[in-house]
Assembly symmetry: C2
Homo-oligomer: 287 residues x 2
Amino acid sequence: MIDSKEKVQYFIDLQTKIVAHLEYIDGNKFITDSWTRPEGGGGTSRLIENGRIFERAGCNFSHVLGTKLPPAATEHRPELIGQSWEAMGVSLVLHPRNPHCPTVHLNVRTFVTESGVTWYGGGMDLTPYYYYQEDELHWHKICRQALDPYGADLYDNYSAWCDRYFYLKHRKETRGIGGIFYDDVSTDQAFDMTQSVGDHFLPAYCPILLTRNEQPWTEEQRNWQLYRRGRYVEYNLVFDRGTLFGLQSNGRTESILMSMPPLARWTYNYEPEVDSPEHKLMQRITR
Amino acid sequence: MIDSKEKVQYFIDLQTKIVAHLEYIDGNKFITDSWTRPEGGGGTSRLIENGRIFERAGCNFSHVLGTKLPPAATEHRPELIGQSWEAMGVSLVLHPRNPHCPTVHLNVRTFVTESGVTWYGGGMDLTPYYYYQEDELHWHKICRQALDPYGADLYDNYSAWCDRYFYLKHRKETRGIGGIFYDDVSTDQAFDMTQSVGDHFLPAYCPILLTRNEQPWTEEQRNWQLYRRGRYVEYNLVFDRGTLFGLQSNGRTESILMSMPPLARWTYNYEPEVDSPEHKLMQRITR
């Protein structure tokens, strides 16, 4: 039998803490939607639409159980064939209305097998519509603080991994300005490190959100945000392994697609004017 | 050497004819964007944005050349290894502004190898936001007329293929109300049949478009359209083989993604009221 109590409790508490904080900031309540899965386990989706700050914000906790590891998981580890397993985690995407406020993504998760083999994965990455260097410095400083206690080279490695992972090949763009990404980590400290990532999310994001939300915005800036949100859709539906795996494996579609923006625009061959604020963002993320 | 002149001419003429007709209907001109591909060949994209009827409408012609067939193409035909090839076709997606007007997709294409082996594929399918039985009857009647001269069972087969192909597994919905889909057809009549499909597009779609465009629409109906357009995005980015192949093979991104709607909305767990017009559409496409 798998003893996952401590892990489950951490993820539930993280979701509760983050949602309470975001509700305080927004001034509106998130709805709560709990669901179960015929194959075992379930989850709770917390969501707000048309809030004061958040046009759409979702934070999912899920804990799913299986009686037999899928072939993909045991391909390189035949000793695990036939074992039961649990997967759990918290996944969040926030889409503020103000185009000066960046969209943000957080995910922390673990996978445990019957014999106790455990993997961790996760990270957080920031997707601004306008580029502010001071926001980037703050974001990456807190990302580094989350990882430094667990290894001096972790931030450099996981930050580079983040840029590689959140890359739109067909656009030659990163999704945003990066952060942390890691997967399949099973070191002794992996659970502590994963908790640290989860716990550093609010201090990394909220100061940026609250500062930028004070800036007024124009219809043109709003249109640029909607256009850039189209890239978020493209990334999540074409490249994101979590989204595709979820959709292909009978996951709960509405919870998986809580990451979609509330409204997105596509315009043919749009290129911002050279030296415009929009162009400055493109220079930062094109590679 | 491949002699593809007759085919190329058909596809160019089809694009010209369709665009001229749509320009007349809309009252505005399509832009023309021609491009070449470093590996050989190129194409012409014709597009309108913010037209009178069309919020976004794109019609691509492309003709790309290769010196060596890719491994996927020769896996089951080793006799073709190393041959040069050409692929060409016309691909169209129209997104009218009025929610009573359906979105429509047409694609006709062919693939030719050096030794003359030739495949055809294509079809057309209709994606309404509101369900009108008389529109469906007209649409499928013309689809049948396009295919009947080439085999009594073709319409039944290709119409069923269309429903299977344009299926959103994670939503348990077809993309729309179907039409025609076929692929890898290399019968003697395949080119004639493909021309017939292309030539039947305007009579199949335009009467529906012009009739529905006379109906006034409300903000609520517009929101429903934007919400349903989210499904179009999901289908094209998660399932459509043409789109994914294009994006993964260094195709011209802006031409491939001309199929995206100009504006799309996502709303959590939205379900139309029972017996509403929106619900009637869902009943038609849920399976």
